[in-house]
Symmetry: C2
Subunit: 229 residues, 2 copies
């Protein structure tokens, strides 16, 4: 299949390599196709990528080419957006996506803001209920917990998949988290994951954006996630 | 242990019941302790809750009482916030949490907006990169996928836990999603979860708020979640 990838970073390169291995004909579109020796964020240069992909052309493998956003968009029967979330609409305008007809576009992007270091914020990130509470009541030892699943599961994890799933906590005080951990164990939890200080509560809260969609799709609220690591 | 629960809905009642079963002494604090017969959202009235909990006092079980926010906060050696995220800081002010000293407060809340029906929005929810792209290019068949994990895993799920973890997709066009599903299978994915139309992309994108915290805590980006259901 002919696949056009908009973007040239680690996601674009990784997907591109695998697609070529599987026999697809890939054009990877980049903003400036003359800059093939420029090192990419979290990935090698596009010349390095081409060298790693193209020697293997032949034995049932596909082809790889680097071109402009627009050429990639024209080439692909399927398009993949592998740009940053903040840049995605502009990059797709540059690619002429408005004239691409009704092609499939796989959007892999996140609106992660790498400009302020770790933890990368979403553009919409910034605050959490738990963080607000901790700020309003500085003496309290706030521990975020229990917000990621339905109430019956909070206290009876064994009712789902033998209890093989994960509960999260975060907070600034280690002793407070140890106390909550003991409480969780007394409820039957075995996979208890400490996410860090109270700022991590934003992650737990944002997860709910996913949870409500899982609930909607599965028509079942007695679900949870197991973090495989 | 003496536990004070701020809030009286399904989370408060469920945690309260389990804590009493485990021998703890629970005061459940409600905004108006005179309204014991009022049916709670997604739960029974507080009189029903008391009736279900108290008859069993004796045999190694704890005690249960319903009182004001303030009395619950005074009672508890550990406090649990089980109010809605939007109301949490105000409820805790009513509870006198500022004078509660350095007690542990477990915050279970989410800022879910139930006012607009399903899917419940987070207060900060409203838009997604994928939705913006779909709106800007109405002819394209946008499928959100791949944004929830590190690039090497996208194409090689078997490298983690034998491939026993979940990848998500969403989009408005069933045929486009079927095509992406075939692509995912060719990469080795076996647990492919369709979250619905493109509005569900917001869930996939918000999950990244969790992912960056998992990455920070585990110091390992080669992780993913398995949805147990």
């Amino acid at each position: 299949m002919k696949i056009g990838i908009i973007g040239s970073g680690v996601v674009a390169q990784t997907l591109g390599t695998k697609l070529v291995e599987l026999g697809h004909d890939v054009v990877l579109g980049t903003r400036d196709p003359k800059k093939l020796d420029e090192k990419k964020n979290m990935a090698g240069s596009l010349n390095e990528w081409l060298a790693s992909v193209n020697p293997s052309t032949g034995s049932g493998r596909g082809q790889a080419k680097v071109a402009s956003f627009k050429e990639a968009a024209i080439h692909g029967e399927i398009l993949i957006n592998a740009t940053h979330g903040q840049a995605a609409v502009e990059a797709l305008h540059l690619a002429g996506a408005g004239e691409a007809g009704s092609k499939v576009l796989i959007d892999t992007s996140n609106e992660l803001d790498f400009g302020k270091g770790f933890p990368m914020a979403l553009a919409s990130e910034g605050r959490s209920v738990a963080g607000n509470i901790q700020a309003a009541f500085p003496k309290l030892k706030v521990v975020k917990c229990f917000n990621t699943l339905a109430a019956p599961l909070m206290v009876n994890p064994k009712m789902l998949h033998g209890g093989d799933h994960t509960i999260f906590l975060s907070g600034n005080d280690a002793a407070a988290k140890a106390q909550v951990t003991e409480l969780l164990k007394s409820f039957g939890w075995t996979d208890i994951l400490d996410l860090g200080d109270i700022s991590a509560a934003r992650g737990q809260e944002m997860y709910m954006g996913m949870w409500v969609r899982l609930y909607g799709s599965l028509k079942n609220g007695m679900i949870n996630i197991k973090v495989q690591r």
